[in-house]
C-alpha cells in the first residue's frame, strides 16, 4: 500500500461536516473565552481557565485540521512528549513570579 493511498483512506474517514463541526466548536470556545474575560476573576484563575480552553482548542486543531489523529501513533510519540516536557520544565519557574510582588520593598 502506498503512502498516498494510506493518506487518502485516512482523509476519507473525515468528512467536510466534521471539519465544519470542529470550526464551529472552536468559535464557540473563543466566544466563551471573550465572555470569561469580563467576569472579573483573579489573575491566576483567569490565566488557568483561558490556558485550559486554549489547550482544548489547540488539541482540536492538531487532531483534526492537522490530521494528527489519523497519523500513526509513532509520529505523535516522536513529536509531542518532548514538547510537553519542555513546556512543563519552563512552568516550574512560574511559582517564582507569584512571590515577586511580595518580595518588593515597601514604597
Amino acid at each position: 500500500m502506498s503512502t498516498h493511498t494510506e493518506q487518502t483512506e485516512h482523509i476519507e474517514h473525515v468528512t467536510v461536516g466534521t471539519f465544519n463541526k470542529v470550526w464551529v466548536g472552536l468559535l464557540i470556545l473563543t466566544a466563551i473565552e471573550v465572555f470569561l474575560c469580563y467576569k472579573q476573576l483573579p489573575t491566576l484563575i483567569m490565566l488557568t481557565a483561558l490556558v485550559g480552553l486554549s489547550v482544548i482548542k489547540a488539541a482540536m486543531i492538531i487532531a483534526y485540521f492537522m490530521h494528527l489523529k489519523f497519523e500513526r501513533f509513532s509520529l505523535f510519540l516522536t513529536l509531542f512528549p518532548m514538547l510537553i516536557f519542555c513546556i512543563l520544565l519552563m512552568l516550574i519557574f512560574l511559582g517564582d513570579a507569584t512571590r515577586i510582588p511580595a518580595m518588593r520593598p515597601p514604597a
Binding site: 500500500m1 502506498s2 503512502t3 498516498h4 494510506e6 493518506q7 487518502t8 482523509i11 467536510v16 471539519f19 465544519n20 470550526w23 472552536l26 468559535l27 473563543t30 473565552e33 471573550v34 470569561l36 474575560c37 469580563y38 472579573q40 489573575t43 491566576l44 483567569m46 490565566l47 483561558l50 490556558v51 480552553l53 486554549s54 482548542k57 489547540a58 486543531i61 492538531i62 483534526y64 485540521f65 492537522m66 490530521h67 497519523e71 500513526r72 509513532s74 509520529l75 516522536t78 513529536l79 509531542f80 518532548m82 514538547l83 519542555c86 513546556i87 519552563m90 512552568l91 519557574f93 512560574l94 517564582d96 513570579a97 507569584t98 515577586i100 510582588p101
Partner: protein, 210 residues
C-alpha cells in the same frame, strides 16, 4: 512515493520502511512546527511570568475597538484554517482549480488578519503612545512583550500568505502534489494554533473591564 518506503512489511522499526508512514516533507514540517512551538512557548511563558509578577500590569484594551478587532482577527484565522482544510480535501480529490480557489480564500483570511492587526498596532502607537520600549502605564515590559509576541506571530502570518501564494500558483498551473498542499496547510494551521494562545493571553488578559 514508492511502495518500498511506506510498506514497512515486517515491523515498523526494523528498517527499510518509514516508521511514520508519511513522506519526508511532512515529517520535516512537523519537526519545524515543534521547534517553532518551543520558541513561542518560551516567549509566552516569559510574558506570563512578567504578567503574574507585576500586579499593576496595564489593561488598556477596550471592548471597542481592541477586543472586537482581535475577536474578528481570531475569526479570520479560524475560518482560513477551515478553507485550508478544504483546499487539501479538494487537492486529494484531484480537483486543482477548486483547491486553488480555497487557497486564495485562505490567503484572503490571512491578509485581512494582517490588515486588522496593523490597524490595531497603529492605534496603540499613535493614540495610546505605546511603543516597544515605553508606554504611559509605567510598565515598560508591556510594550516589549506585546510587540515582541504579536510581531513574531504577524511575521509568521505574512510568511504564510507568501508561502500559500507560491503553492497556489503552482497548483493552478498543474505543478506540485497533494502532499505539498498538505505540508503548507500544516504550517498555516500552526500559525492559527499559536494565535489561539496569543489572543487570550495577550488581549483578553489585558482587557479593560469597567
Amino acid at each position: 512515493m514508492s511502495t518500498h518506503v511506506s510498506a514497512a512489511p515486517v515491523g515498523a522499526w526494523e528498517g527499510g520502511g518509514s516508521p511514520y508512514a508519511t513522506n519526508s516533507k511532512k515529517f520535516g514540517m512537523w519537526l519545524f512546527i515543534i521547534s517553532d512551538a518551543l520558541t513561542f512557548s518560551a516567549l509566552l511563558f516569559a510574558y506570563t511570568y512578567s504578567r503574574v509578577a507585576n500586579p499593576d500590569w496595564p489593561k488598556p484594551f477596550e471592548f471597542f475597538p481592541s477586543i472586537i478587532f482581535s475577536s474578528v482577527m481570531t475569526f479570520c484565522l479560524l475560518s482560513s484554517s477551515l478553507t485550508m482544510v478544504m483546499a487539501v480535501h479538494q487537492m486529494n480529490k484531484g480537483n486543482r482549480k477548486a483547491a486553488g480557489l480555497w487557497i486564495l480564500g485562505t490567503m484572503a483570511g490571512g491578509a485581512l488578519f494582517v490588515v486588522l492587526h496593523a490597524t490595531e498596532w497603529m492605534r496603540l502607537i499613535h493614540e495610546e503612545h505605546v511603543t516597544a520600549w515605553s508606554n504611559p502605564f509605567g510598565v515598560p515590559l508591556f510594550g516589549a512583550t506585546f510587540f515582541g509576541i504579536t510581531g513574531l506571530h504577524m511575521t509568521h502570518v505574512i510568511i504564510g500568505v507568501i508561502y500559500l501564494g507560491i503553492i497556489c500558483q503552482a497548483v493552478v498551473r498543474g505543478k506540485f502534489k497533494a502532499e505539498d498542499v498538505e505540508v503548507a496547510g500544516l504550517y498555516w494551521h500552526f500559525v492559527d494554533l499559536v494565535w489561539m494562545f496569543v489572543f487570550p493571553l495577550v488581549y483578553l488578559m489585558s482587557a479593560h473591564v469597567n
